[in-house]
Amino acid sequence: MIFMELKQFQEAYERLKRGRRGEPSWLRILRDGAKDFFLRNGFPASDNDAWRHTDLSAFRELPFTPGEDAALISPGELKVLQDKAGKNFILVMNGKLMREYSTIEPGVEVMGLEEAIREKPELVEPHLGQCGASGAEAFNALNTVFFRSGLFFHVPEDMTVKEPLQVVFLADPAKEHATFFLRNLVVIGEGSKAALAETYLSGNGRGYFSSAVTEVFLGKNAILDHVKIAKENAKVFHFASTRTLLRHASSFSSFTLLTGGRLARNECHAVLDEEGAACALNGLYLSDGDQLLDQQTFVDHRKPAGKSHQFFKGLMAGNSRGVFNGKVVVRQDAQKTDAHQTYKGLLFSDAAQVDAQPQLEILADDVQCSHGVAIGQLEEDAIFYLRSRGIGEKEAGRMLAQGFALEVIERSGVQRYKDELISLIDEKLSEQLGNRKG
């Protein structure tokens, strides 16, 4: 990771600064702070608890360069994406919001983050980088230093956005080892309701470093339904986080599907900053080949009567590896907290591995908390039962795997995206089972 080796890093940063002379001082201060953090700490070492099972050595060996190179996907292909999606579709290509390929409902405030920093500083400055979840961290810091743009989505008070906002983040690099730093900011006003779906796609087969940080701020009684799908190609390194700050009685419900990438690490952070906030974090990853798919969660219960429910599953095939780390902190003030977490892993092959770790830190005394991890393989008896009814061995495995995966969808209440998610899951399952030997 040449430019991120310390001596080049400072130079790269200075060059960038010169190109961003118009930026407001508050943003410069934010970036400087992140730069200093990275200079001091660098990448997480292998003994760092949160990174113990996620090996960064392959990533760090590659000569990624900052600044985005863009190849050209044909306008025709982009049009297809736009037409398929229908209402409230946003295309962000190589970090830039492409209005000409987006269909935005009137009254919905969506623009590129770069534009919002200029035009809506009163909405951006108080929120950008202010989520306050789990403190500073290397990839978050890099994103803060290098992001140029991304999505800005604002819903004013007491408004319901009926059509979910579907955003496709498409990366189409001209050369290998490009980097794309995306920062997205979602601000939902008091009493408002919206839904957001983020899909991360690769425009071609080249590998790249994909960094995406989505920050969500929910006002009092606000509701956001969120879906994230990451299906980039098998050479991509995807480091992303969704950081949500929940105010009084607000609600955040998120579902993540990870199928792509050589290494994809997705972090869901939620800070329940005021009383009565609720969050549901659910997700599924399906890995194959040499993939490493890593789901991290961090829920911080700071005030009373908060609810958090987490349900994650992983299906690992081939030589792949699944990682899960679910951290929940219940602070002293957070009485009557209800926090539950479950992770279930299914290993499809003898070589597949999974490392799952729940971490609960409970400082209040009147709470209901639970956590559970279950890892297994396809049940021999279940396969035998299906085969004894004439169903072939491979198909029996597929049925069981599909049943395993679908449980998360059923329990997550993602009715709107159910069909799309099921077809993506089936697609990946076919690959995983197709590659399976014996």
Binding site: Y385, L386, S388, Q402, A405, E407
Partner: protein, 247 residues
Amino acid sequence: MLEIKDLHVSIGGTEILKGIDLKVGAGEVHAIMGPNGSGKSTLTRVLAGHPSYIVTKGSATYEGKDLFQMPVEERARQGLFLAFQYPIDIPGVNNAYFLKAAVNEMRKAKGLEELDAMEFLEFLKEKMKTVEMDESFLNRPVNEGFSGGEKKRNEILQLAALSPKLAILDETDSGLDIDALKTVAEGVNRLRSPKRSFILVTHYQRMLNYITPDHVHVLMGGKIVLSGGKDLAFKLEEKGYEWVKQD
């Protein structure tokens, strides 16, 4: 239809079946009775092809073919069906979806066209009447949350839907109350035909009051020690398995 010769079967290094000989002709109903641990379930499972059971000696011929050379799904597609004693839960797999897949595999094997969702539902509704199961069972995961009786009826529903040539029922009567037993027995009797054979494995004679067997065999210590007609079942009921040991 089925001919078993000197069958020896082991599991986990322990020999359970110690030389079974059995001939089942087309249209015949055979009852296999015996005390617990005699090897009844082992026999049914090895015929169905459960991977944990190893055939150490002997053979089984099904419709002239070497049964033990056929993979599990192939045996089913050739018309062999096992109704399990303890049907397993399959969470996440919808019962209707599973039944449709099984029925269509059978149809494919017979060279028939597969049924689509609507056709399958029509087809199944008929079969469900014969086992007195209502449609709510179709939307649930296979066997999950089913009572013991419901699981057994789900097995008989599959039997009715798949139309096997050789149906093996492993202690289908266990855990059933008299009404449930009557329903199951009626379902089975309706399926009796000159082209279909049954092997009923049972501990108690009770089910044989409702399904009249042509032949009764007593399995003890891994061997068939006695064979007879339906009267043998009554004798066993009266005198118990100890009597057989003495003979």
